[in-house]
Amino acid sequence: MAERLEAKHKGGTLAARKIEYAETEDPVELAYARGWTDGLPVTPPTDERVIAMLKGTTRRPGDIVGKIPPFLAECTIEKVAINAVMAGCKPEYMPVLLAAIEAALEPVFTLHGVLATTYFSSPIIVVNGPIAKKIGMNSGINVLGQGNRANSTIGRALNLIVLNVGGGRPGEADRSTLGAPSKYTLCFAEDESDPEWEPLSVARGLPRGASAVTLFQGHGPEAFVDQKSRTPEGLTRSFALSLVKMGHDRLTQSARALLVLSPEHYAIYKEGRWDRKRIERALYEATIRPGSELIAGKDGVGEGIPASRANEMVPKFHEDGLMVVRAGGPAGLFSAILPGWLAGRNRQELQLVTKEIKS
């Protein structure tokens, strides 16, 4: 009732135009008919809900967050709130969503390209810091799957904003050949339960204790299974066997990757006193192979590197191309690879972006 009264009085302060419908019409169906959804139902953005959502941020409804590709339409805080309502967010998710939008709009994130590519990629959001627990995000069992409201809806809201404000529609600006389920949403929190582990946001330059989002252009997950390796060295070589296959065995120095390291695999590294830097460096080195094995045309397979590189040792990744995130349930010697966008070959032009979450 309080929300309804507030909407009655404050509704007039909202700037977005009203889309009227008769009492006999179903607003969920209306949203479908207007092309406002990702294919799943949306929560109708009524004045009550939008006003409640705006309480999740200290920023003013008319402030501009940025221009959303592909059509570079200005996006206000109010439009963010409307799409957040539709995605199913709670007001307290707003600071995370706003930081994610700002990260996605950094030129080095190349959001337009991520949308328009024929590849599988879309923004993947990793959340670090105290806000993850505060808003109830999942970093544990089924972390990359369904079921957690914050994980599910924050990522979805970002994609709905690209769809609705930016006008990025599949088959139009979105030219993905096959797409991926992760294009609906892929957002999760890192497991920071081990104080010895350096969180992703800290590795990317933020102080410990700061809340942050890191955006990565990727898709997934791809499964990694090793139930028998028991040493850090063996596990690293095992990871390398799968990592080099990402995209194609002979594709090199193109896509980055996020490796989602599960607790049971992490325990093997922890027992050997390996920290993030050592793991990432060892994985980079373990995925360097003789160029002669990767030559285009070898064994009748057209894909590969030029024959002129046959005598080089060729890395799968750029030196900064592989990052580890800790997440997952306590049981299961499985980890996950989140492959990055192939355009990662333009190493300087395309990067992960980390933003501190403010308000």
């Binding site: 977005a16 135009r17 889309i19 607003p27 439009k79």
Partner: protein, 92 residues
């Protein structure tokens, strides 16, 4: 009573959903002749179909079983997969 929700888009399109533009020409398209289930509709559509066919246009008879009920989604999906445009009218 009307109610409303707020527009989530950049508001570059009209408030009302735009109609699909009609095709510039019917040549090469399959025209669905929609039988809404009213009495003597077949006789009327026979004549319409004859006129279209005389012009060399392709037709296909589609429809719903009864005028008393709206077409079901399956019904509409089947029609949209079979024809390019639909000719439909009210009659009494």
């Amino acid at each position: 009573m009307t109610t409303w929700m707020r527009d989530p888009t950049a508001e570059t399109s009209p408030v009302k959903r735009a109609r699909r533009a009609p095709p510039k020409s019917l040549e090469g398209l399959t025209i669905g002749l929609f039988d809404i289930g009213k009495t003597r509709t077949p006789e009327f559509l026979d004549r319409v179909e004859q006129r279209f066919n005389e012009k060399g246009l392709k037709t296909r008879r589609v429809g719903k079983p009864t005028n008393a009920k709206v077409a079901t989604p399956e019904n509409l999906q089947k029609i949209s997969s079979e024809v390019d445009v639909v000719l439909i009218g009210l009659s009494d």
